[in-house]
């Protein structure tokens, strides 16, 4: 556990030594601010529903930028060799990296609290759905970050990692957007696989264990594939 936290802590701090963390934070805050406040006053309701709708989409695009370098850059520069030859297991490396980026993601989420707080000064905001929405965002974000880490474990090129992660996360996000075109059986399967389907119910204030487990499973699955990819280096 100590090793995981040490790796995670280093990763977290190193984001702030470079531009990536600042750029991602700025982009998320600005686009969210624009889309959210653009329509907020048309509804005439003190609600954060619209914010979550936008934020979940923005993050699907923004988070792969945080994960693209996690392993790809270490492989390109060779620092992975020093990291792995320390007395740690591959699983500890993967979990440490994941915790490091998850920490940065938590910072991003905390910063967006500025919006619901502003809303609550304008009217009577119901905080229940806000908290469940944040829980949903955190879980969906974990899944997206795990997918990004997995993509980063497959290559030593950050751009390839970025595009693979973007493609996969956007794919899972849009999955339930064209269900009308499909036969009912296929539609219900696809809907169940869609990130947004599980997230939207949490944004409405419904915390269903099945939704939590869904994001959890995706996260674990992606992390274990990243672990396999990192481990396979030994036998290649």
């Amino acid at each position: 556990m100590n090793h995981i936290l040490t790796i995670g802590g280093r990763q977290f701090r190193s984001y702030f030594n470079g531009p990536v963390a600042y750029i991602v934070i700025c982009i998320v805050m600005l686009t969210l601010g624009f889309f959210f406040w653009n329509t907020f006053f048309l509804y005439g309701r003190a609600s954060a529903r619209e914010m979550f709708r936008w934020l979940s989409l923005i993050l699907v695009f923004a988070l792969p930028a945080l994960t693209m370098g996690l392993l790809a850059e270490e492989k390109r520069t060779g620092t992975i060799e020093l990291l792995i030859t320390m007395p740690v297991t591959e699983a500890q490396v993967i979990l440490g990296k994941f915790i490091g980026v998850l920490g940065l993601y938590a910072v991003v989420l905390v910063l967006t609290l500025a919006y619901p707080i502003s809303v609550s000064t304008l009217g009577n905001l119901d905080w229940g759905p806000v908290w469940s929405g944040y829980l949903g965002l955190f879980l969906q974000g974990s899944a997206v970050l795990a997918i990004g880490l997995m993509a980063s474990s497959w290559t030593d090129n950050q751009l390839i990692a970025l595009f693979v992660a973007l493609t996969l996360s956007v794919f899972f996000w849009v999955l339930d957007k064209f269900l009308a075109l499909l036969p009912t059986n296929a539609a219900s399967v696809l809907e169940w696989l869609s990130f947004d389907y599980h997230f939207q119910s949490m944004a409405r204030g419904v915390v269903d264990l099945r939704d939590v487990l869904f994001f959890f499973s995706v996260t674990i699955f992606a992390l274990s594939l990243a672990f396999r990819a990192l481990e396979s280096r030994r036998w290649s």
């Binding site: 100590n2 090793h3 040490t6 790796i7 280093r10 701090r13 190193s14 030594n17 470079g18 520069t77 060779g78 620092t79 992975i80 060799e81 020093l82 792995i84 030859t85 320390m86 007395p87 740690v88 297991t89 280096r233 030994r234 036998w235 290649s236």
Partner: protein, 321 residues
């Protein structure tokens, strides 16, 4: 614990159809500084990556500090301080921040960590750059940061992959001195293709060529292995033809072979003589030159050197006849 710190048996590594390492068997004892010598791509780095458990061998196994690389890779890694080729470091971190990170990864905490940090910074002379970011450092300083991170947990075994490549002669001399100092108490394996480096730093040399271990000896023994001394005489040509000159020296009874190379525009001829046994031919050469009326400009005795041996062993070319 035994005295054998590294015990490699039949290490073999295939990358697809390429065999990078073939049945390498060697042992390194406590307190030895061993040089891994070989041309680029000979398998030095592969052997080191196997010992540090970064990659697994396709065949064979090894024990480091008593622990098996398959059964207990964590114990192996604990026993090793490793400096990979090209010194990969997190360039965005500060020197101190980085060393602290490595110390924590190595299980050091609190006062123990601070004490070790002070010690390695002193040993590697990093005091002046401790607050700088690694990306700003010169190659020599980066190399020292690389050594510092390898030393921080006082490992019994150090594995250094080309620790002196890319350094200027002054920096290389400093690092060499440092490694020699470290080697007094620890077991060190370093790889290089620089022979003078080996002669000064290493007590033993493993020469590796095309994945195979072709020699395992002290630098002195290796240099002596070529055996015969050679005598090189420089003469003024003075109108004599090259074959005349060779003729004059062929009369020397103990000479096994005489070869001449006509040299530069200033009319000098260099003749090389190899004795039949271990005889000293210098007096005979002088006499032969005098009686043939040749002016002897220089006379030199050369032993076969490490460079020749290296070339011989790694290319199969004869160094001299």
């Amino acid at each position: 614990m035994t005295d054998v710190m590294i015990d490699a048996r039949d290490l073999t590594k295939h990358y697809g159809a390429v065999t990078a390492l073939k049945n390498a068997t060697f042992q390194v004892h406590r307190g030895e500084v061993v040089g891994f010598l070989g041309p680029n791509g000979a398998g030095k780095t592969t052997a080191m990556k196997i010992l540090t458990c970064f990659i697994a061998p396709s065949g064979g196994t090894a024990r480091v500090g008593g622990a098996d690389i398959f059964e207990d890779p964590i114990a192996v890694r604990e026993a090793i301080g490793y400096l990979p080729e090209n010194t990969p470091l997190y360039t965005e971190m500060l020197v101190l921040e980085y060393l602290e990170f490595v110390g924590r990864m190595r299980g050091l905490r609190g006062a123990g960590l601070q004490a070790r940090l002070r010690r390695v910074v002193e040993e590697t002379n990093l005091g002046d750059v401790i607050g700088k970011s690694i990306g700003e450092l010169s190659k020599g300083f980066r190399q020292r940061v690389g050594l510092a991170q390898a030393l921080i947990h006082e490992p019994p075994v150090l594995i250094l992959d080309e620790p002196m490549s890319g350094l200027d002669p002054n920096q290389a001399a400093e690092i060499r001195e440092l490694i020699r100092e470290i080697g007094r108490e620890r077991t060190v394996i370093l790889s290089t293709h620089n022979l003078s480096e080996v002669r000064v730093t290493c007590g033993r040399v493993l020469i590796i060529s095309q994945g195979e271990l072709v020699a395992d000896d002290t630098p002195e023994e290796l240099a002596a292995r070529g055996g015969k001394p050679r005598f090189v005489a420089t003469l003024r040509q003075n109108g004599h033809s090259a074959s005349d000159i060779r003729e004059a020296f062929s009369a020397i009874g103990d000479a096994q072979s005489v070869t001449e190379q006509t040299s530069t525009a200033d009319g000098e001829v260099i003749v090389e003589l190899v004795p039949k046994g271990n005889q000293d031919l210098r007096a005979d050469i002088f006499q032969a030159a005098v009686s043939a009326n040749l002016v002897l400009l220089g006379l030199e005795q050369r032993g076969e050197n490490l460079e020749d041996i290296f070339r011989q062993l790694t290319t199969g070319e004869g160094a001299s006849s």
